[in-house]
Symmetry: C2
Subunit: 199 residues, 2 copies
Amino acid sequence: MNTDGPLEMLIRQLAALPGLGPRSARRAALYLLTRRKTQMQPLAQAIQQAAELVRECTACNNLDTADPCRICSDPRRDAGQICVVAQVSDLWAIERTGAFKGRYHVLGGLLSALDGMGPEQLRIPTLLVRVKEPAVREVILALSATVDGQSTAHYIADHLGPGSNAKITRLAHGVPVGGELDYLDDGTIITALRARNAA
Amino acid sequence: MNTDGPLEMLIRQLAALPGLGPRSARRAALYLLTRRKTQMQPLAQAIQQAAELVRECTACNNLDTADPCRICSDPRRDAGQICVVAQVSDLWAIERTGAFKGRYHVLGGLLSALDGMGPEQLRIPTLLVRVKEPAVREVILALSATVDGQSTAHYIADHLGPGSNAKITRLAHGVPVGGELDYLDDGTIITALRARNAA
């Protein structure tokens, strides 16, 4: 193999995808080259089409072909509830549950001094503007239970306070459904004990 | 998410790649959509280019932009040795070692009654023709030490015999270099014992 032919270029580009290393990228390239009509052309088309048609919603930063996105423009969804998530993948995870009928705000990441992510790198300023609208009754901070997630939640809660009447809530911490106590970390058990409910 | 937009199509196509499931395909799609210039367009181009330019060598079935491939057309490589491999990835693995200076024959798979792979589905007939050339001195069967690999090797050895003067060899079985005896299966240890060499 020389190192700059089209085959090597394809392998290098595939290896850059998260979840694929050099070895699986070679396998994927061979997989595609032996299925040119059924897999390779459709994949190239899907990438081109998505690059052309998928855009960010100017209201909530969700990815969709429409702007505003289908969630923001759906009149059946409650504009009074804004669920704040770090990434579009978190939005998808909540949508898959079907349990939330409000709207979203995708931050595009979490505050992180190490990664140089400040409030201006995230979509926190636009969130603060959105929340000032009188229709907004509740802001649900659906951020990961990690250090970065919780410090982002703190920062937002601190800055939402003045000029907004919206209630600020967070996802509950506790034992995951189906989780065995024996395998849970101490922090989760302590939190679940403190937040115990009447049976 | 609706199920037939360009975003969902991209995720579905990515999920079809070996090594990517639905979850990692969603991550890869988001990764691409947030890096359109640096990753998404280059990947689409790499796929298109590879689909257009990469072809099978008519002699050995290797994948290359040239036909015959650079290995078959390299005068420094010994045309008297043919190394038979199941897949192009096996050829790459042997090439990475730099230890083989002959030519290859890529079968395109292994004989497998379960998967409906017979000699005609593989490139065994063209191998039998190639080996009849008087220049061919040795056929190295570099096939996996699995049931399918070994039965393919047996089949080829049986059918090469008449009409060819080439010596038929196989990769040695034994303890992998760096392998600990304690973790090896019984079959490998037995084979290594039987094939022991003078120290």
